[in-house]
Amino acid sequence: MNLCDTMELEEIIREENKVYAVPELLDQSVHMHYCPGCSHGVVHKLISEVIAELGITDHTVGVSPVGCAVFAYNYIDVDWVEAAHGRAPAVATALNRLWPENVVFTYQGDGDMSAIGTAESIHAANRGENIVMVFVNNAIYGMTGGQMAPTTLIGQKTATTPYGRRVDLNGHPLEITNLMPLLDGTCYVTRQSVHTPAAARKTKACLKKAFENAIAKRGTSVVEVVATCNSGWKMSPEKANEWMAEHMFKVYPLGDLKDTTKEQ
């Protein structure tokens, strides 16, 4: 027997029966521009939940990148500064140094973090700025139409590697997150994904730890999210998840790369 046969709809939709809600900080008045199946929406959701749960909404400032996530400021209901391509960590450095009681995070794509903003990312982390760097790595430039990223895999086809990325022509995939633990300024470096509910829950816990590090001024936390770009990869969302698990996790294996909070 169907539950609805015996109960009125109003009886079911009640606060005490609620098992899921859109996070309060995700602005419902705007439509997200992300493609269906894109990982950004999930990452936004997790960040929104973490900020609300830590009670830091009124003193958190985000720095959005150039790339698909440039409009992150339209979705997560905190103050945002939109940075030039690659410059988010420099912008975040000043935002935090001038307002040390504030929690500042950057949201960067693979172009931002590992191409045009390599210097800013490495140096902010090396200075140990008390910020969170969220790095969404989908191995492609989504917003500009699917060109090669530094993190594009060997053999992966993109608009600028139409026959597949070749080492002799394009160099190797840049595993920039692997460099971060070497820098004394980082306190926490992890690589996660959001392709399953379990993975998303894990990523949320990692983001929470990263934001707690920023609050406690322990140094720079880097949370890489290995992500899909099903539009750029020209796959269905489901197929993109499978392709990511099969190919990307080999080059970008998931797990903590550094965690000084465990040592303390």
Binding site: D79, V81, A84, A90, A119
Partner: protein, 358 residues
């Protein structure tokens, strides 16, 4: 003290919140002096040596976006690197102060003084339709004074201001009167003065977003029109210049910054020869004192524009006076500073007794 050192003292005394820079000759003393004075121990001002000029200007962008009074300094090649960030700061309608102790270019050029960045400073520099308020000091005292003036104008009009100095004013030692130490604004004062700033949604206020992105053309046009209206207001209200003996003169010299002092000496030498010369020294290079130059030029027989470049400000002077009289340029390049006698010779040969081209 040196011009560059004076800047460091002035920025602390103004009560500025942050300085972000990267060493480059001939202005490294600004950062060196700030590090030596340790203002973070006294006023709480942040001083940071960035990894590049690009990072430094983006730190300024971030600081300005949070409502703080922040500045950077550099010299010509470094200022070129900062242009992207300057365009973003202007587009995002943020107050900030940028010092260019300019040197000879193009390229890596020379570390000697030059005024070859006039076009870059006054005609945009970075991409898009924008202007900086550009102040040109001719003395170390003006270096000091223009820090406060630059910040005040930047905050008044929510637009970046630049002090366009040159290696002469940066390196020269002169007596200066430093202003009294002003307290830095409290966080509450910053929030009150800059309700648009990104420093946390205290009190549950609506979120602030600082961005220069607008993909909708009709809205982007409105943003541009707002910027242009602001520039028109600045042109109307903030033009500054100095005139020396222009009323009784037969000729004018127009010069800015350090070279205006050499031109003033040339004026005295000219007077000994019975040549009556007046000086117009633009203090704001943008907005350019167009009307003042036009008025001072009325009835004059000719104008010599003296610059440490191949002829840049002369374009604005010609636009000001149209073709009512001869306007010629004299300048030395590559970091060479002409003597007053050279300036006088140029005035005589190009304006007073011009040789026939035939």
């Amino acid at each position: 003290m040196k011009g560059n050192e004076a800047i460091a003292h002035a920025v602390i005394r103004y009560g500025a919140d942050g300085y972000f820079g990267y060493p480059i000759t001939p202005q490294s003393e600004v950062l060196e002096t700030l590090e030596e004075l340790m203002p973070w121990e006294t006023t709480g001002m942040v001083v940071l040596q960035a990894e590049s000029e690009v990072a430094a200007i983006n730190m300024v962008y971030g600081g300005a976006a949070s409502g703080k009074a922040v500045m950077t300094s550099s010299s010509s090649p470094g200022i070129s690197l900062k242009q992207e960030g300057i365009s973003y700061i202007a587009a995002s309608e943020l107050p900030a102060l940028i010092l260019n102790v300019s040197r000879g270019g193009p390229g890596l050029g020379t570390i000697q003084p030059s005024q070859a960045d006039y076009f870059q400073a006054t005609k945009g520099g970075g991409h898009g339709d924008y202007h900086l308020i550009v102040l040109a000091p001719s003395t170390v005292q003006e270096m000091v004074d223009f820090v406060g003036l630059g910040f005040d104008l930047a905050f008044k009009h929510r637009t970046p201001a630049m002090i366009l100095a040159d290696g002469v004013v940066g390196q020269m030692m002169e007596k200066v009167v430093l202003p009294e130490q002003k307290p830095r604004r409290t966080d509450e004062e910053v929030r009150k003065q800059c309700p648009w700033a990104c420093n946390g949604r205290i009190g549950g206020r609506k979120r602030n977003i600082i961005s220069s992105l607008e993909l909708e053309s009709s809205r982007m046009e409105v943003i541009n029109e707002r910027l242009q209206a602001r520039y028109a207001e600045i042109e109307r209200t903030e033009t500054r210049w100095e005139e020396i003996g222009t009323k009784d003169a037969d000729y004018l010299i127009v010069a800015f910054g350090s070279i205006a002092r050499i031109a003033t000496k040339a004026k005295e030498l000219a007077a000994e020869k019975g040549i009556k010369v007046g000086i117009v020294r633009p203090i704001t290079l943008w907005p350019f004192p167009t009307e003042a130059v036009a008025k001072a030029a009325e009835g004059k027989k000719g104008i010599l524009v003296v610059e440490l470049n191949a002829g840049q400000m002369i374009q604005d002077v010609r636009l000001a006076v149209h073709d009512k009289m001869p306007v010629e340029h004299f300048g030395r390049l590559g970091g060479i500073i002409p003597s007053p006698e050279e300036v006088l010779n140029a005035l005589e040969n190009k304006i007073v007794n011009p040789k026939s081209e035939a």
